[in-house]
Symmetry: C2
Subunit: 125 residues, 2 copies
């Protein structure tokens, strides 16, 4: 295992909240068989991000993509995530960690959402 | 104006947090010219959802689609949103209000995200 993806989400008290993350992990694994995809949470549930990164590094991951599964680039992404990564990276300087954009900043998201929303809204025009 | 869409998001202290919502509103308006698209927030910034719904009803909206711009169907969508809508609806029983699925439950979202994420992650296979 050289490359890995970590879906990093907020976490919630309701365990059902994670179901879409599990679905997303499955979708990624189907699209890229053999790629390791893991879930990590900021709070309210585990495992946490440092724990998951540690496990991946020990398993031999050299390149980890962290996906902030947050709608927008708010405080959780800009303030909470960087120190978690920086602190972990000091112990594993050789592992390349890449942080992807937040969901709303992924290429094509606006157009995809507009069509998905209009498919439901079916406005009278 | 008969139909309207309300993008209902959490809200944040950082005003920049709203920028993707404004972009999404623009994308929907471009895809459906003439359709009214409004932003409403749960907390930390305004306007709130009841205020926006009130304005739309007074402007003649008969059919309003509320889009929960939240990654997953957590407490904000299942516990905070319904009473806001129910309380408002008692004053406007004739207005048809439809709540769309949360982002992760929109059709095609898993596949779209998987491709978008893999486009960045470019795993060694």
């Amino acid at each position: 295992m050289d490359s890995a993806i970590v879906l990093f989400a907020h976490g919630a008290r309701d365990p059902e909240w994670s179901a879409p993350l599990v679905r997303l992990r499955t979708a990624i694994e189907r699209a890229a068989p053999g790629l390791a995809v893991h879930l990590a949470y900021l709070e309210m549930q585990g495992p946490g991000l440092p724990e998951v990164l540690e496990t991946l590094a020990r398993a031999g991951a050299r390149r980890i993509s962290v996906v902030p599964v947050f709608w927008s680039r708010g405080g959780h992404v800009t303030k909470d995530l960087p120190p978690l990564l920086a602190q972990w990276q000091t112990r594993h300087p050789a592992v390349q960690v890449q942080v992807l954009p937040a969901l709303s900043d992924l290429p094509g998201m606006d157009g995809f959402l507009a069509q998905a929303i209009l498919g439901f809204a079916q406005p009278a025009q």
